[in-house]
């Protein structure tokens, strides 16, 4: 019986070592090969989740690229920023969404919940630190395991197909054509509580920008007055002043918009995005 246990364990260990070897090899290879199409010398980045993704049409903002993506918590924004710092010639400024729902406990789910993790983590695994891997594995081992499996599968496929364009994994402006006045959005049930994890990773982003001498500013994209997450405004302001007082905060929440500029309570539609983008262009490029 001891022989059986010994042989089984030794095979498992050999296999795990092989897996680590493949993972590291694939990750390092892709880190070298992954590229993004950008020719700008001075680059301004806009990052965040879906509010940002739908609000800033970078076609109207000079020297700026929108890299926001739906359902993205700061955990994944950090990985994305690590990639961008390595691959964009010079990042001048980063405007990062910091708004009410991003301090809410639901961001934990956006980081390691089943649906979000298998969707987000495989795209960024090669840029994660050991600590990041532990965060995911500790909170949702099965989801982490599935993400690892998807990451390896997709990475090997990319290597086989010689597809190293990473642009598609980075997000970008998303045009929404719907209108809140035509189809009112449903209110989401707001869970109480603060996501310490998201705040922790926001601090890591602040530190990373500082380390690379990148100017960082927080932006709060306009939210509809009926937006359900505005209930935590008090907590939001408290955290902003207590934790991030030294980071510039551009609050666009009161930017004059009509209800018809919103796709739903949290997102601007194409018309709203155009108004905001023109204003934002003027704001950041005429400072």
């Amino acid at each position: 019986m001891k022989k059986f246990v010994y042989k089984l364990l030794s095979n498992i260990i050999v296999f795990m070592l092989l897996l680590v070897f493949v993972f590291t090899g694939v990750s390092e290879f892709l880190k070298v090969k992954n590229k993004i199409n950008t020719s700008l010398e001075q680059q301004t980045l806009v990052m965040g989740h879906s509010h940002t993704e739908c609000a800033y049409n970078d076609a109207f903002i000079i020297n700026t690229s929108n890299f926001a993506a739906s359902g993205e918590s700061y955990f994944y924004t950090l990985q994305k920023l690590r990639f961008l710092i390595e691959n964009v010639d010079k990042i001048d400024r980063v405007f990062l969404e910091f708004s009410n729902n991003q301090i809410n406990v639901k961001m934990d789910d956006w980081t390691y919940g089943d649906a979000y993790m298998v969707n987000k983590a495989p795209g960024f695994m090669q840029y994660m630190s050991v600590e990041d891997h532990i965060v995911l594995g500790k909170n949702n081992f099965e989801g982490y395991f599935n993400s690892l499996s998807i990451y390896l599968r997709e990475s090997l496929l990319r290597i086989v197909k010689q597809n190293f364009d990473y642009s598609k994994s980075l997000g970008g402006y998303l045009k929404l054509n719907r209108n809140i006045t035509e189809k009112p959005s449903k209110l989401e049930e707001v869970k109480r509580g603060v996501s310490d994890l998201n705040i922790k990773y926001l601090k890591k982003i602040v530190a990373l920008c500082h380390e690379h001498k990148i100017s960082l500013a927080f932006i709060r994209t306009p939210q509809h007055i009926q937006y359900e997450y505005l209930v935590n405004e008090k907590d939001f302001q408290k955290i902003r002043y207590a934790e991030f007082n030294d980071v510039k905060f551009i609050d666009l929440n009161d930017f004059a918009l009509e209800s018809s500029d919103f796709a739903d309570f949290g997102h601007l539609n194409e018309q709203g995005a155009l108004k905001l983008s023109e204003y934002f262009n003027m704001l950041i490029n005429n400072e």
Binding site: K3, L19, V118, E142, S149, R153
Partner: protein, 483 residues
């Protein structure tokens, strides 16, 4: 608890270590561990239904025990019927109550009545009830018939009823085979344990790579059947054929492999059924534990293939329709059983049902043209029958069949999700090749033991594990849990 879950990855080594390292000296304690582990395994799904298993255990143990003392034929018969009524009563209530109410209401309305007051209940179907009910019934019937001595060891009997590897989806073990293994001292057998691990590996491959991947295609095609051409629907039915085989035989392989780790031998449940040359052979190779159960406890008592033409045909219909009904409380399963009976009867009447009792291409590497055609036709017929099994309603099945047997069968299938279809076809070819190589063995990976160097064997095992990890998707429940 699912075999393909994280919990099971921890559960199995813990029980294994406790069983062989700490409790190996006392058989009774080992059996007790199996009972506790099995109840925990089942209770993770819904602990309330443990009472059903426990009650069933007590009833059958007591009735079996009393057969030793009661010699009067009438009293013995009453006790036997009590066991049958209790077991089938539970099964009938939890699985078929709503079905009968619905069917009664529909018939009553059809005849012009107004079925007010006959309401269905919100009943949860206890996982595995069809399996352990049949297993305990086999004990009582065999003891009644004198084929088996009743056990006095309650713990051993409780372990036999609840043995976790096969509790929720079989194989349905006969008391004559499994129960004595609980009363014999078990010693660790290295070769058996290694073989068990290989069988578990192949079971996981079948479940995670073949069944779960085919399920993606089969589900989309069947759930949107009205949108697809006959060719795409046939493709969907083929995917379902592989899904159900990979799912159920994969579960059986894992169950048998896990049992080997604990020193038990379970009966083979699948013998590469898709390489059958006729329907009779298919049914000797598919879900063997259920087919033989029905054969021994229903078909033979009904008279089997003896008697006149009418009784022969009647018995075949009864066994197939009951078997279909066992799978689920829906008319689609009944029709599925009926279709298989229709396939079987001509073969039986022509005395052809015992003409293919060996393995296809017994002493050859490749089959003959005739065998290819026979295997292809049998696979096609079973695939057509699976359409009834998979469809939500009989009318959906008929619409799908109408499309398949129309000119749209010759249209190029349109379904290809993100180009993964090529990968899926490659996996199926790989799978069929392995199944073919291992068709004469107890389980597929045993073919590697014949003449392959150790390096190749290890390479194949590592590749299989790598494929399972790399290609796995979200864990899916085993289909047969619902039965």
């Amino acid at each position: 608890m699912l075999f393909n879950s994280l919990e099971f990855m921890f559960f199995l080594p813990i029980v294994f270590v406790a069983y062989w390292f700490f409790l190996k000296k006392t058989l009774r304690i080992q059996n007790l561990l199996i009972v506790v582990a099995s109840y925990y395994f089942y209770g993770l799904w819904d602990w309330r239904f443990l009472t059903l298993i426990f009650f069933s255990t007590i009833v059958d143990y007591s009735i079996g025990y009393s057969f030793d003392y009661i010699k009067t034929a009438t009293k013995r018969k009453v006790l036997l019927w009590l066991s049958i009524l209790v077991n089938l009563g539970f099964l009938g209530f939890f699985k078929y109550f709503n079905f009968f109410i619905e069917s009664f209401k529909e018939t009553y309305s059809f005849l012009g009545g107004n079925p007010v007051g006959y309401n269905t209940l919100q009943i949860i179907l206890p996982v595995g009830i069809s399996f352990y009910t049949f297993q305990t019934l086999s004990y009582t019937i065999d003891v009644y018939k004198g084929k088996l001595q009743p056990t006095k060891d309650f713990v051993a009997f409780a372990a036999f009823v609840s043995f976790f590897p096969q509790l929720v989806a079989g194989p349905i073990e006969r008391a004559t085979n499994l129960l004595p293994q609980f009363t014999r001292k078990r010693t660790f057998d290295y070769e058996k344990a290694v073989d068990g691990v290989k069988q578990i590996l192949w079971g996981f491959f079948k479940k995670i790579i073949i069944a779960d991947k085919c399920a993606i295609y089969a589900n989309i095609i069947f759930n949107n059947s009205e949108e697809y051409s006959g060719s795409t629907l046939l493709l969907g039915a083929i995917f379902f054929s592989f899904q159900i085989y990979g799912d159920f035989s994969g579960y059986s392989d894992i169950a048998i492999g896990v049992s080997k780790l604990f020193g038990f031998d379970l009966k083979k449940n699948f013998a590469t059924p898709y390489f059958s040359r006729d329907i009779a052979e298919f049914w000797r190779r598919w879900h063997i534990s259920l087919s033989t159960w029905f054969r021994d406890y229903l078909y033979i008592p009904l008279g089997g293939s003896r008697g006149g033409l009418y009784s022969k045909i009647r018995n075949v219909f009864i066994i197939f329709i009951v078997s279909g009904f066992w799978h689920g409380a829906n008319w689609t399963f009944v029709v599925w059983g009926g279709v298989n009976a229709l396939y079987f009867i001509p073969i039986m009447l022509l005395n052809y049902n015992r003409s293919n009792t060996d393995v296809v291409a017994q002493n050859k590497l490749f089959p003959s043209i005739k065998e290819i055609l026979q295997v292809g036709l049998t696979f096609f017929l079973t695939t057509i029958a699976w359409i009834f099994f998979r469809s939500e309603t009989i009318s959906q099945s008929l619409i799908i069949l109408k499309k398949i047997f129309s000119t749209s069968l010759f249209v190029k299938p349109i379904y290809d999700k993100d180009g993964d279809l090529k990968l899926m076809l490659f996996l199926l070819i790989f799978f069929i090749a392995f199944e073919w190589m291992g068709r004469k063995k107890e389980h597929v990976l045993q073919f590697l033991e014949d003449s392959y160097p150790k390096v190749i064997k290890y390479l194949i095992f590592y590749i299989l594990v790598f494929m399972i990890l790399l290609l796995k998707g979200k864990s899916q429940e085993f289909i047969y849990f619902q039965f």
